[in-house]
């Protein structure tokens, strides 16, 4: 009975934390948030050098051969620092390929994805709405020996810079589409979370290749995504609380720091009690993905619903503790607030996943 991290896992988190402390100071975050691309090439390269982009990729393809728990631990730290860029979509596209790609597809793409040389992303949602495989309509048609894809995908992470799209198909399968194919058009969507930009991708008879294990991989990739969002939410919410506590220890009103006031103390204590026990919920959901597959879909759904809800509320409370300054663009709290909005909506809102969890429990 061991529900704790290994020394290696603790070291992994510590390494990423130190790395981001050095390489991702607040000024850079702010500049990126206000900038046009939402992607910091130097940071991406440095993450690649640390091996963070191929964590779950098999070793022979240049990855680290680790598990979702390890990846989620990294996602938590990235959430703490509001680290920007294509990490989430890239990790999920890479996992999709590992789980459902053919030998040739893996050989062509996994090493490049693991090194970060190519950026992958996940294109699921369509204009009609719905993240669930049953909601996908993009379709493949044969053109001689080739397959062509048509359809439109929304809110695709890093759509403007991705090299490879893993696309959800009618019937619940997955296809690979390369950005350079004719008939692929991308367009930025003004994103609320400017650390994780999104876009619209239109496929008009673009060359595609079907992933042979796509139907089996799709729900697993969804579950992994839910766990990564839950982990990100935990990291972000924890950072919000730290900021709120720091502020309460320094902001003076009525001649004392506001942390003296019981109303503020209790609000902060409530925020901490809302989030801290849920660390173990995302750990468990990740562990279930890795080792207890029967429990995985339901735990992933509940972890995402619970943690993204908690993060949103904690971000709201953090603004409130800061008072007027918390409502401004210059106060960094808004960045985490918007991360919370992303974590809440991406791959489906808490209500959607609670209903799924209810069905999965046989209620």
């Amino acid at each position: 009975m061991n529900f704790g991290l290994s020394d290696e896992q603790e070291l992994l988190q510590e390494t990423v934390r130190r790395f981001l402390e050095e390489r991702w100071p607040a000024q850079k975050l702010r500049a990126l948030f206000d900038g046009s691309s939402g992607h910091d090439v130097d940071l991406w390269r440095a993450m690649s050098e640390l091996g963070l982009l191929g964590l779950m990729v098999e070793e022979k393809a240049g990855g680290a051969g680790l598990e979702l728990l390890d990846l989620a631990l990294v996602a938590e730290v990235l959430g703490r620092f509001a680290a920007p860029g294509p990490f989430l979509g890239h990790s999920l596209a890479t996992l999709a390929l590992s789980l459902g790609g053919s030998g040739a597809q893996k050989e062509r793409w996994l090493p490049r994805l693991a090194s970060g040389e190519a950026i992958g992303t996940l294109a699921l949602l369509e204009p009609g709405g719905g993240w669930d495989p049953a909601d996908w309509h993009a379709s493949l048609l044969s053109n001689g020996a080739d397959l062509l894809i048509s359809g439109e995908k929304l809110h695709v992470p890093a759509a403007e810079i991705a090299d490879l799209f893993v696309v959800g198909l009618a019937g619940g399968g997955l296809a690979l589409v390369e950005r350079t194919s004719d008939g692929v058009r991308t367009e930025a969507i003004e994103a609320v979370d400017r650390t994780r930009r999104i876009g619209r991708v239109a496929f008009d008879r673009a060359a595609a290749s079907l992933m042979s294990g796509g139907n089996e991989a799709a729900p697993r990739v969804r579950d992994a995504g839910l766990v990564l969002l839950a982990a990100d939410a935990f990291g972000g919410a924890s950072r919000c609380i730290e900021r709120a506590v720091e502020y309460a220890k320094t902001r003076v009103q009525f001649g004392v720091t506001i942390g003296h006031f019981q109303s503020v103390k209790h609000q902060l204590a409530n925020m901490a009690v809302e989030i801290e026990p849920a660390r173990s919920l995302y750990w468990y959901a990740a562990h279930a993905f890795d080792h207890l597959p029967a429990e995985s879909p339901r735990h992933a759904a509940l972890a995402k619903a619970h943690l993204s809800d908690r993060f949103m509320q904690i971000a709201r409370d953090t603004v409130e503790v800061h008072g007027g300054i918390g409502f401004t663009w210059e106060c960094d709290v808004q960045i985490w607030y918007k991360r919370a909005m992303f974590d809440r909506a991406f791959l489906g809102t808490p209500a959607v996943h609670r209903e799924r969890a209810a069905r999965l429990a046989g209620w």
């Binding site: 801290e276 207890l292 809800d309 969890a357």
Partner: protein, 405 residues
């Protein structure tokens, strides 16, 4: 991370199980006598095997085992499954015994610890007073040393089990001139002494699980003090540090939640089963997020304890977390009960850590969730502890004024 137990512990579990199969429920000669006598004989056997009273040295009637949180969990699970009498519950074994082991004199340990862990001696706690709740150290019950005897006058409240207790461990003010915390002593009072009047205190549930205890010129032998005069506050802070079972609390929340799901299957909303109603499903799944977090946080704390690490702020949150879950369950249950919410609570339903039995039991749970929120450190005090000790925020104004006095 691996939620299975290692071979060594699985072997231990088998050993415990076969012991229980052989000895509980008792048969033959062991089945003679009252159920209390049977339990007492069984406990003696279990102590000899090192399964019960593990943290109490053998010299005081315990089994003196080295701390092992995983063994403690296995014992809890297996004894629970067999419904066998394990560690004596109650405030005597959980609070007085560790206090005596840490601060008591040899003669006190020899006299009080063995009968308490056998379940033969019952205790009640004389801490709270009508004017001293969260601010316990403001207590006023006086004890004056007169010709070698303490003469105690005052009133205690919220005293569970006072009507059946043999003894009370009691905080009394013995040094009225000393600063608040330094004027208190820890006395052991025989409940059969003249001058003690126990009056049941009826709660909103209609039952009386607590009492008020009035002490009028109660004479207590001078030797019945634990620790020195004026050190009672420190003495009373001893807690059970050994083998705390971090999972037990969350298991109660889990059982409560499963009871709610059953209730939602049995009740109707808008003409269909409540569990088919989308709002009910949302509410249940929302609550389950908290319940699972609590449960797995317990696993994590257990692992930390097994590794000899302190759980830090997480450990400070357990009570508030289960309180919050209790409140949510109370509200949801009342919604599910609908018209049945007009009926009075049924009184047989309050078994701590068990889901309520019958629909009337949920009315009882509804009210008891408030009792739980208050007893043993109210929710607002828990928030102070988390904010001050956990998050490092400044201490309360009142507490600051006092400590600078």
């Amino acid at each position: 991370m691996d939620l299975r137990y290692s071979k060594e512990y699985e072997e231990y579990r088998r050993e415990v199980r076969s012991f229980l199969e052989a000895h509980w429920p008792p048969s033959g000669d062991a089945a003679q006598g009252s159920s209390a006598e049977q339990a007492s004989r069984f406990r003696a056997l279990a102590i000899a095997r090192g399964y019960v009273a593990r943290s109490v040295p053998t010299g005081y009637g315990g089994s003196g085992q080295p701390p092992d949180v995983l063994k403690a969990v296995i014992l809890g699970e297996e004894f629970g499954r067999a419904r066998a009498p394990g560690d004596v519950r109650g405030i005597g074994a959980s609070m007085l015994v560790p206090t005596l082991l840490e601060h008591g004199r040899e003669d006190q340990k020899l006299r009080f610890v063995p009968p308490t862990i056998r379940g033969d001696m019952h205790w009640c706690q004389g801490y709270s007073e009508p004017g001293s709740g969260s601010d316990l150290a403001s207590l006023k019950t006086r004890a004056e040393l007169v010709q070698g005897e303490w003469v105690v006058n005052g009133q205690k409240i919220w005293t569970s089990g006072a009507q059946i207790a043999h003894y009370m461990f009691c905080l009394c003010r013995t040094e009225p001139e000393a600063p608040k915390h330094a004027g208190i002593s820890y006395l052991l009072i025989d409940m059969a002494s003249p001058g003690i009047d126990v009056r049941p205190l009826r709660q909103m549930t209609g039952t009386a699980d607590f009492n008020e205890v009035f002490l009028t010129n109660v004479r207590v032998p001078g030797e019945n003090i634990v620790g020195k005069r004026g050190e009672g506050w420190t003495v009373s802070r001893s807690t059970l540090k050994h083998e705390r079972n971090m999972i037990g609390d969350a298991a109660g929340s889990r059982a409560l939640f499963e009871g709610l799901v059953r209730l939602a299957r049995e009740t109707k909303r808008n003409g269909k089963r409540a569990i088919d109603d989308s709002e009910v499903r949302q509410q249940l799944a929302t609550l389950e997020g908290y319940v699972l977090s609590h449960q797995y946080s317990g696993y994590r704390q257990l692992t930390q304890a097994a590794r000899g690490k302190d759980a830090g702020i997480t450990g400070m949150m357990n009570k508030l977390t289960s309180t919050n879950i209790g409140h949510s369950a109370a509200k949801l249950a009342l919604d599910l009960l609908g018209d049945e919410g007009l009926c009075a609570p049924t009184h047989d339903a309050r078994v701590m850590g068990q889901p309520p039995r019958g629909h009337g039991g949920w009315i009882t749970q509804n009210m008891w969730s408030l009792g739980v929120a208050i007893a043993g450190g109210s929710a607002n005090i828990q928030r102070n502890v988390i904010a001050e000790r956990g998050l490092g925020l400044p201490r309360d104004f009142a507490a600051q004024r006092e400590s600078s006095r």
